[in-house]
C-alpha cells in the first residue's frame, strides 16, 4: 500500500515534467496534439497525487505507525476527524495536500478551457505543472510522507494538541484553497505574457478564479483568527505572527488587484500594474510557504528545522527572475490607455486605495523580515512584535477605511463640486456627528473615535447608494421597494455585492477597534465560593470538575455568571492535558453577545491549596468582527455568482482578441 503511494508520487513527478515539456514544445511548434497530450498528462498527475493522498489518508486512518509521518502526527486514540486533518498537520503531508489542491484546480481549469483559450492553455498547463513539479520534487527527493521507520512505533506521538480543535478541519484547507487558488490567475498571467495576448481575455477568464482565491483567503484568515481566539486563550485573535502575516499579505495584494482590475476593464488603464499585482500575489503565497517552513523567523506555526528553506528561496528567486524578464520583455504591450483627468475621480481614488493596500502589505512584510535585516546589519537580533504592526498599520488602515467610503461613490473622470456635495455631504455629516457624540460620551481613545466616525461615514455612503438605486428603480420600473432592491442587487451583482463586502469590512474595523481599545482584563486567584467583579459581570467560582479519558484529562471550573446582578448562566473554562504530547491546552469559555464577549480562561489550579487562577476578558463588540467576516463572505458569493452580461463580455473579448491576432498574422 505504502509502496503504491511512493510510486504514485514518483510517477506524478515524471508526469508533471512531461506535461511541462510537451506543453511548451506543443505551443512553440504550434502542434495542438502536444498541447492535448500535456493536458492529459496533467489529468494523470492529478489522479496520481490523489492516489498518494488516499494512501496517506489510509495509513492515518488505520494508524500505520510503520510510517514516520503517521507515527509523528497521529496516535491510536486520536479521533477520526483529526486523523483526516493530520494529512495537513505535518510538513510532508501538508505539501502533499498542497499539490492535491493544485492539481485538482489544474484539472478544473483544463476542463473549463477545453474548447477555449487554445493559445493560452499550453502555457497555463506548463505553469501549473511547473509549480506542481516543484512541490512533487520536494515530496520525492527531500521530505517524503511515506518514509518508513526502521522499527514500527508501538504508538504515535499524536497531533499537536493545539491543532486538535475543530477549526483544524476547516481553517488550513480554506487557507490552502486561497493560497493555491492564486496560482491559477498567475498561470494565465504567465501565458498572457508569453503569448503576448495581453488584452481582456486572460483578465476576464481568471476573474472568477481570483475571486475564488480571495474568498478562501478571506475565510482562511478569519477562521485562523477565530481559532486563535478560541484556542490560544490570550483574549485576542491576531498577534502579527509571521505566519499570520504570510496569509495576510497575499490577501492584501489580491484585494488591491480585484480593485484595480476594474479600472483596467472599464478604462483599459493600469495593465502593467495589474500584471505586477497578480505576479506579486503569487510570489507572496510562495513567500508565505517559505516562512512557515524555513525557520528563518520564529513562529508558533513553523514546521521547525525542516531544511526546506533553501528550496523555497531558490524557487521564489527563479519565479521572480522569470516573471521580471517576461514583464520587461512585454513592456510595450502592457501600456494601457492611462489617463487621469483629476485627482477627484474614481480612477485616482482607486490608485490611492491600491497604494494603501500595497502599503500595508509592505509594512507587514517589512516588519516580518526586519529582524533578519537587523541581524545582518547590526549583528543584533531584535523582535518586531504586535506593538510595531499595530502602530504602523493602524493609520494606514484608517486611511484605507476612508477610501472604502470614497472609492465606489466618487465619479469617474472628474467629480464636480456639485456631485461631491451630493455624494459626500450627508455621509461626512454622519461621520462627524458620530465622532462628536462618542467623544462627548467620554471616549478618549482617538483611534477608536476616528475609526467609528469613518465607519459611520462609509456605512452612510453605502446606504445612500442602496437607497438611491432602489428609488431609481422604483421610479423607472414601477417596482415595489423590496423587489426594486432585490433587482438592483441581482442585476448589478459586482457593484452591490462589493458594497456588501464593504459593509463586512466596516464591521471588522468596528470589532477590531472596540475590542482592542476597550478591552477589560482581570486575573484573579480565587477559592471556591469567591466572587470576582469585572465590568458589569459578577463571576462566582462554584466548583471544579475533573474528567479523564485515554486521550486527555481535563479540569473544568464551574463559574456562575451574573450581569448587572441578574444571573445569565454558567460557564466552564477548561484546561486539558493531552497525554501523548504531555501538553496542556486552554479551552476558553465564552458568553458571546452582540455587545460584548465574556471570555474566561482557567489559568491554573493547585490541588493542595484549592486555589484557582482565572483570567477574565471582556471584549466589547468583538462579535462584529466575525459577523463582518461572514458578511464579506456573503458579499463575495453575490459578486461571484455568474451573470449573462459577464459571459457576453468574455465572449466579446475572446472574439476581439482572435480577430486582432488573425489580422496581425495575415
Amino acid at each position: 500500500m505504502v509502496d503504491l503511494g511512493l510510486l504514485a508520487l514518483r510517477l506524478a513527478f515524471v508526469g508533471g515534467l512531461y506535461a511541462v515539456l510537451t506543453a511548451v514544445y506543443g505551443a512553440w511548434a504550434r502542434r495542438p496534439a502536444y498541447a492535448r497530450s500535456a493536458r492529459h498528462a496533467a489529468y494523470a498527475v492529478h489522479a496520481l497525487v490523489a492516489v498518494a493522498a488516499a494512501v496517506l489518508w489510509h495509513a492515518l486512518l488505520t494508524a500505520n505507525f510503520s510510517l514516520e509521518y503517521v507515527a509523528s502526527y497521529a496516535s491510536s486514540t486520536l479521533s477520526l476527524p483529526y486523523r483526516i486533518a493530520a494529512l495537513w498537520g505535518g510538513q510532508a503531508g501538508s505539501l502533499l495536500f498542497w499539490v492535491l489542491i493544485l492539481t485538482t484546480m489544474s484539472t478544473v481549469v483544463h476542463l473549463q478551457n477545453r474548447d477555449r483559450n487554445a493559445a493560452l492553455m499550453p502555457y497555463v498547463t506548463a505553469t501549473l505543472m511547473t509549480i506542481a513539479v516543484f512541490f512533487l520534487a520536494l515530496l520525492v527527493f527531500v521530505t517524503s510522507p511515506f518514509e518508513r521507520l526502521p522499527v514500527p512505533a508501538a504508538e504515535g506521538a499524536d497531533l499537536n494538541p493545539l491543532l486538535q480543535n475543530y477549526w483544524m478541519l476547516i481553517h488550513p484547507p480554506s487557507l490552502y484553497l486561497g493560497y493555491v487558488g492564486c496560482s491559477v490567475p498567475f498561470a494565465f498571467a504567465i501565458a498572457a505574457l508569453v503569448t503576448g495576448r495581453l488584452g481582456d481575455v486572460w483578465i476576464r477568464t481568471t476573474r472568477r478564479w481570483t475571486l475564488f482565491a480571495w474568498f478562501f483567503l478571506t475565510l482562511g484568515n478569519m477562521l485562523g483568527a477565530r481559532w486563535a481566539y478560541e484556542e490560544l486563550g490570550w483574549g485576542g485573535y491576531w498577534a502579527w505572527d509571521p505566519v499570520e502575516n504570510a496569509a495576510f499579505m497575499p490577501w492584501l495584494s489580491c484585494t488591491a488587484f480585484l480593485h484595480s482590475v476594474m479600472i483596467q476593464e472599464k478604462k483599459n488603464m493600469l495593465k502593467m500594474w495589474n500584471m505586477v499585482l497578480v505576479l506579486l500575489t503569487f510570489c507572496l503565497t510562495i513567500f508565505g510557504t517559505f516562512l512557515t517552513r524555513s525557520g528563518v523567523v520564529s513562529s508558533v506555526h513553523s514546521f521547525t528545522q525542516s531544511g526546506l528553506g533553501p528550496f523555497f528561496v531558490a524557487f521564489l528567486l527563479g519565479v521572480i527572475v522569470v516573471v521580471s524578464g517576461l514583464v520587461i520583455w512585454r513592456r510595450p504591450l502592457l501600456r494601457g490607455e492611462n489617463e487621469i483627468d483629476s485627482f477627484l475621480s474614481r480612477e485616482a481614488s482607486f490608485l490611492f486605495n491600491n497604494l494603501l493596500l500595497v502599503g500595508i502589505a509592505f509594512a507587514t512584510f517589512w516588519g516580518t523580515i526586519f529582524p533578519v535585516i537587523s541581524e545582518a546589519v547590526r549583528g543584533i537580533k531584535i523582535t518586531v512584535g504586535p506593538p510595531f504592526f499595530n502602530k504602523v498599520n493602524a493609520p494606514l488602515g484608517l486611511a484605507l477605511l476612508f477610501m472604502t467610503g470614497v472609492g465606489p461613490v466618487i465619479a469617474w473622470r472628474r467629480a464636480s463640486a456639485r456631485k461631491l456635495r451630493r455624494s459626500f455631504a450627508a455621509p461626512l455629516g454622519v461621520g462627524f456627528v458620530t465622532g462628536a457624540v462618542i467623544f462627548a460620551a467620554g471616549w478618549r481613545n482617538y483611534y477608536a473615535v476616528v475609526c467609528f466616525s469613518l465607519a459611520a461615514f462609509v456605512l452612510a455612503t453605502i446606504l445612500m447608494e442602496f437607497y438611491r438605486g432602489t428609488r431609481a428603480r422604483q421610479a423607472l420600473m414601477g417596482e415595489p421597494a423590496p423587489r426594486a432592491l432585490a433587482n438592483l442587487v441581482g442585476k448589478n451583482r459586482r457593484r452591490y455585492g462589493g458594497y456588501v463586502i464593504h459593509v463586512g469590512v466596516v464591521m471588522v474595523f468596528i470589532g477590531v477597534a472596540a475590542s482592542s481599545a476597550f478591552r477589560l482584563e482581570e486575573q484573579e486567584t480565587i477559592r471556591k465560593g469567591d466572587v470576582v467583579q469585572v465590568g458589569s459581570f459578577t463571576l462566582t467560582y462554584k466548583d471544579i470538575h475533573f474528567t479523564d479519558d485515554p486521550h486527555y484529562s481535563s479540569m473544568l471550573a464551574e463559574i456562575a455568571v451574573a450581569k448587572d446582578g441578574a444571573p445569565v448562566g454558567t460557564l466552564f473554562p477548561e484546561k486539558r492535558f493531552y497525554k501523548k504530547q504531555q501538553q496542556p491546552t486552554t479551552e476558553v469559555a465564552l458568553r458571546s453577545t452582540l455587545v460584548e464577549d465574556l471570555y474566561l480562561v482557567l489559568g491554573s489550579y493547585d490541588e493542595a491549596t484549592g486555589l484557582m487562577t482565572m483570567i477574565v476578558f471582556v471584549n466589547p463588540l468583538v462579535n462584529w468582527l466575525w459577523i463582518g467576516g461572514l458578511v464579506m463572505v456573503l458579499g463575495t458569493v453575490i459578486v461571484m455568482s455568474p451573470t449573462a452580461a459577464e459571459r457576453r463580455a468574455l465572449a466579446a473579448a475572446l472574439a476581439v482578441e482572435d480577430r486582432g491576432l488573425e489580422a496581425a498574422l495575415r
Partner: protein, 133 residues
Amino acid sequence: MKNATQTEIEEALTCQCGCGLTVHSCNHVQCPSGIPLKREIAAQLGEGRTRAEVLAYFSTKYGEKILSAPTTTGFNLVAWVTPFAAVLVAGAVIVVVSRRWRRPPTVPPPSRPAPIDEARRARLEAELGRFDA
C-alpha cells in the same frame, strides 16, 4: 489589580517561551519565561523605577530582542520610518505619473511624407481600387 505601567511594560516585552506573544499576552501555565518576567517587572517598579528605566534594564539584561518592538533610535529607526516613507514616495510617484497622464498626448510635428516609388504607388492604387469595388 495590576497598575497601568506594569501592563504597559508587559506589552513592551516579548515572552521568551517561544509563543511569540508579549509577556502580557502569554498565558502559558507555569510559563518558564512569562511568569518570572512579570515578577521581575513588578520588583523593578517596586524599587521606584520609571517605565523607561525598567525597559532599559531588561534590554541590557536579556538583549534587545526582548523588546516587543524596535527602539526608535539608531538603525532601528529604519524599521519605523521605511513603511511610511515607502507609502509617501509611492504616493508622490502616483501624483507625478498621473499628472503626466493628464496632459494631452504630445502630437509629433507633421513631417513631410516620404516619397513613394512608382511600384508602390501602382500597388497602392490597385489595392484601393479593389477596396472600392
